[in-house]
């Protein structure tokens, strides 16, 4: 079993960090960031997800198979999103979905 157990104090710090990050991304969504809007928001979301996984879900205490499983999931998510979105992004105008519908 894992020895360095994550406890109540870590949980409290994680919770506060999550709320701070949530407030930050909410505030940033009002600023005119242009093209950086989406990357920044998703980066903060990924940070929050990492905090939840590492401390609430004790990933920081796990060794071996479980971190590998998480890594494989992240990799496949990237593959699925990238190759699917790449199709739409690199299609000619004719093959795009109709710009306006009924």
């Amino acid at each position: 079993m894992h020895a360095p157990r994550i406890g109540a104090r870590t949980y409290l710090r994680t919770w506060i960090a999550l709320l701070v990050l949530a407030a930050a991304t909410l505030g940033l969504s009002f600023l005119p960031l242009g093209a950086f809007h989406a990357p920044v928001a998703l980066l903060i979301a990924a940070t929050k997800a990492a905090l939840i996984a590492l401390f609430f879900m004790h990933l920081a205490d796990e060794r071996g198979s479980i971190p590998i499983a998480v890594g494989i999931w992240v990799l496949l998510l990237a593959v699925l999103v990238t190759l699917t979105a790449a199709d739409v992004l690199t299609r000619g105008e004719m093959l795009r979905p109709p710009a306006s519908g009924p």
């Binding site: 198979s65 494989i72 999931w73 496949l76 593959v79 699925l80 190759l83 699917t84 790449a86 199709d87 739409v88 992004l89 690199t90 299609r91 000619g92 093959l95 979905p97 109709p98 519908g101 009924p102």
Partner: protein
């Protein structure tokens, strides 16, 4: 001899019926509520055989219809339903579960020296979820069938008047069942290996089941969501892929094939595992390269996730994606070729004992190689444009996917039948059946390469008269396959009742599962085995003389 895998063969542990997993309890309830992985494996073996019979009958009817250029005994709607149900049943009720859920369940714990899988009750649940899924699919068939093809492409699948929704939901439920199996296998392999069973000593069949389980667990949910979206569109007009509502039907194909291409490896990876077990036993030789085989197994499992777009070259996908997927698809061939060379090199110089499993191995090597090479040809996109949606594709995937899986299924059945039931079957009848099945398979699907190349499109029940000769050859081949399979069923049932006792290890195999009585006791091993060698070690330095003891 001290702590080798041969240690757990205690004196007096002959295959007595009262001690084996078959004889320990005999009530119907003891079978239907069993948590014994071996009995669950047998339940799946029976269920998948029934699916093979049903799916095969549909194929026979199709081939019969195609005997003549004009309609023979069915109209186009009936034919559309037939090939749809043939595909759905063969893919999800037969080929995906057949090797993992039946042979995998039976053998995985035996091979790693465990008493059971990690979650036995989840394992039992997977049987009933499978049966529930099958019942829903069959309900849809009885309602009015589906006529979309097994791929359920929108927009047609969202508007067809046939009962596509129950079929979609049934397939979704079947996916839940295989996910349960996948989770169980991954955790079992990680946590229940016996002492001395390092990762570098895992039998290749276990490695392939492990790779398959990863694919099942990660790809099946993507299929599930794509089916649910289509079902919701058909039932409530969700419109996720409806162009009039801003949707894009090609995106369905992306997420559908994200599962359904790796699904091909769900079928073929365990088949490769079976072939590896058979080749080492009957060549009496260690694998040519164990490490290369493991790398190729994991390589196929991973690259299999990067190639789904080669089903969509002509669908309107962007040229960039076509090029990317074409190149990525070729990588799979590298790993597959590593495996083929490995098997052949293992046979080379081996003390080959010709037997029925080995015949099916030869069938596998031929069908897999031809199917694989025609696959590489199709990964070149310019050729695929010509062959897309023709019989060439049908022949290709029946060679590599169906041929590969069927050959391995039959090899596994004949190789492990003595292990499962403690009886031997008639070699003579089995050889005749193997000749019928393998010959029939080649006869059925070879002509379809020529038909497709000449322009015969798939999924039509009529065709121009000049194609008739090849179609007739193909139909005759389908009768040969049927004859072989029926014959197999008969002599195996006879062997169950009257076959000679097999003894623990009739093939003289070094593999771990043969080091316990056949059929195995309920606990698999009387004492937990300790492993101090690789799985295919036929010439350990000090104990060569003991192999014949």
């Amino acid at each position: 001899m001290s702590t080798t895998a041969t240690a757990p063969r205690p004196a007096g542990a002959r295959p007595g019926q009262e001690r084996s997993y078959l004889g320990v309890e005999t009530t119907i309830r003891s079978w239907l509520a069993t948590t014994d992985h071996k009995r669950i494996g047998l339940l799946f073996l029976i269920a998948t055989a029934a699916a093979l019979a049903l799916g095969g009958s549909l194929a026979l009817a199709m081939r019969l219809e195609l005997l003549t250029p004009e309609p023979l005994f069915m109209d186009d709607l009936a034919y559309n339903r037939l090939f749809t149900l043939h595909g759905v049943i063969m893919v999800w009720l037969f080929m995906i579960p057949v090797i993992p859920a039946s042979f995998g369940n039976f053998l995985l714990p035996l091979m790693i020296g465990a008493r059971d899988v990690a979650f036995p009750r989840l394992n039992l649940a997977s049987v009933y979820v499978y049966l529930a899924g099958a019942a829903v699919v069959l309900g849809g068939i009885l309602a009015s069938g589906a006529d979309t093809g097994w791929t359920f492409y929108p927009p047609y699948s969202t508007t067809t008047p046939t009962a596509v929704v129950p079929v979609l939901l049934g397939v979704f439920i079947l996916g839940v069942s295989s996910t349960m199996t996948g989770i169980n296998f991954i955790v079992t392999t990680h946590t229940l290996r016996t002492r001395g069973m390092h990762w570098s000593r895992l039998p290749l069949f276990v490695w392939t089941l492990y790779g398959t389980s990863i694919i099942i667990v990660l790809a099946t949910p993507v299929l599930g969501i794509s089916l649910l979206l289509v079902a919701a569109d058909h039932a409530f007009g969700l419109g996720m892929f409806d162009p009039a509502r801003g949707g894009d039907p090609i995106l369905f194909q992306h997420i559908f094939w994200f599962y359904s291409h790796p699904a091909v490896y769900i079928m073929i990876l365990p088949a490769m595992g079976v072939i590896t077990e058979v080749v080492t036993t009957f060549a009496r030789k260690n694998l040519f390269s164990y490490g290369a085989m493991v790398v190729a197994t994991l390589g196929i499992a991973f690259i299999g996730f990067l190639t789904w777009g080669h089903h969509m070259f002509t669908a309107g996908m962007s040229t960039f994606d076509v090029a990317a997927f074409g190149a990525l698809s070729m990588f799979v061939a590298i790993f597959s070729a590593i495996k083929v060379f490995n098997w052949v090199a293992t046979l080379y110089g081996g003390a080959i004992a010709v037997s029925v499993p080995l015949l099916y191995l030869f069938g596998f090597l031929f069908l897999f190689s031809v199917g694989g090479m025609t696959g590489v040809a199709q990964a070149s996109t310019s050729l695929d444009v010509h062959w897309h949606d023709t019989y060439f594709i049908v022949a290709h995937f029946h060679f590599i996917m169906v041929g590969g899986t069927m050959m391995a299924y039959l090899a596994a059945l004949h190789y492990w039948f003595p292990k499962m039931f403690g009886r031997l079957y008639s070699e003579r009848w089995a050889t005749a059946a193997a000749a019928l099945v393998i010959g029939g398979f080649i006869l059925t699907f070879s002509p379809q390469f020529w038909l497709g190349n000449a322009g015969m499109p798939r999924r039509y029940h009529t065709y121009p008269a000049e194609y008739q000769t090849l179609h007739v050859i193909s139909t005759v081949g389908s009768w040969a396959i049927t004859g072989g399979l029926v014959l197999t069923l008969v002599y195996l049932i006879v062997a169950l009742r009257r076959g000679r006792p097999a003894g623990p290890n009739p093939w003289g195999s070094a593999a771990f599962e043969w080091q316990t009585p056949s059929p195995p006791p309920r606990e698999n091993y009387i004492t937990p085995p300790v492993i101090d060698r690789g799985p295919y070690d036929y010439h350990p330095p000090q104990q060569e003389h003991e192999d014949h003891g």
